[in-house]
Symmetry: C2
Subunit: 191 residues, 2 copies
């Protein structure tokens, strides 16, 4: 499925747009292709866009002072990603986004998102529900981080996103779970 069809199908689960409205909406996106390992957002960048993943897999991550990596989010096909803190507050990026695999993304500028939300009520409806779902997922992950040990978090991730295990190298899954690669190996071999 090409990016336009994928985005149309994705939006139509939440909002009702006429074909004309969707074509107008879609005309504000730019299709970008990235190679595995390429960086989309670097810490310190001005952040002006969010990205709808058409194909491939991205990661949003943070590197601390000890050069330890924490993965905030994986983003696969039909997921959205950006540094939303920077995007919404017009501040500089504090996280990075790069490509785990070759990837195609549809890029939407912040000013265009706001214009489209103001022009088409159903577009605002779509973005409200997209963020509602992101908020709930983020709260669940926070609760899981507070309450669950590595084994439980690992099993949760397996259940929620089984496809990640084919797409994503094990050391990145460890960085998402906040554990070492050795601990992950023990959990992985214990299945």
């Amino acid at each position: 499925m090409n990016g336009q069809e994928l985005l149309k199908q994705h939006i139509s689960k939440t909002a009702t747009l006429t074909d004309e409205q969707f074509d107008y909406f879609f005309s504000h996106f730019t299709l970008l292709s990235f190679k595995k390992g390429q960086t989309i957002i670097s810490e310190g960048d001005e952040v002006d866009c969010e990205y709808f993943v058409v194909s491939g897999c991205l990661k949003a991550f943070f590197i601390n002072d000890d050069i330890k990596m924490y993965i905030l989010q994986f983003a696969m096909s039909t997921w959205w990603t950006s540094d939303y803190n920077a995007l919404y507050s017009h501040s500089r990026a504090t996280i990075n986004v790069d490509c785990i695999t070759d990837a195609e993304v549809l890029c939407l500028k912040s000013a265009d998102r706001e214009k489209l939300c103001a022009e088409i009520h159903q577009v605002e409806h779509f973005f409200r529900w997209r963020t509602n779902r992101g908020y709930v997922a983020s709260q669940k992950r926070l609760l899981s981080f507070m309450n669950n040990d590595a084994k439980k978090r690992y099993e949760e991730l397996l259940t929620l996103y089984p496809e990640l295990y084919n797409l994503v190298p094990k050391h990145l899954i460890a960085a998402y779970l906040g554990i070492t690669r050795e601990t992950l190996s023990r959990l992985y071999n214990g299945r």
Copy 2:
């Protein structure tokens, strides 16, 4: 300031409503008064409402199998709270919400929120931006949990919400930070 004025001021920071639109919007809220210690949502409840805090302080929390409490959110004047996972997915509550102090809240039913969002574009705009901000705060807290030690998280909380320290007993601040009361005492006395 009474609840109606407080909500009007709160909404007007994000959305533009005429007086008639605001009065109509406000007519869907119910003012409720609770005593310190009273429960608003219990694990297992059907969740049909979200709450705008007029006065006082609430907490949204989770009790695990070992009867350990984790605080997901404090909610003070002009904050919103509910079990949003249950509210948005029409499932049973997995967390609890109760009152740290006497409190007055404005209750909005889920069906009314959706009706108002559909009827008044600016109401949908308001709720989109409210959740955008909640999403970013939740992502920041997650990153802080992954990366920062208790001392750093304590200092962050102090900086972000200094007023919490007068409103909220220390053992609840410890439950928010995911540390013991003893560790918090050490940090508190080290200031």
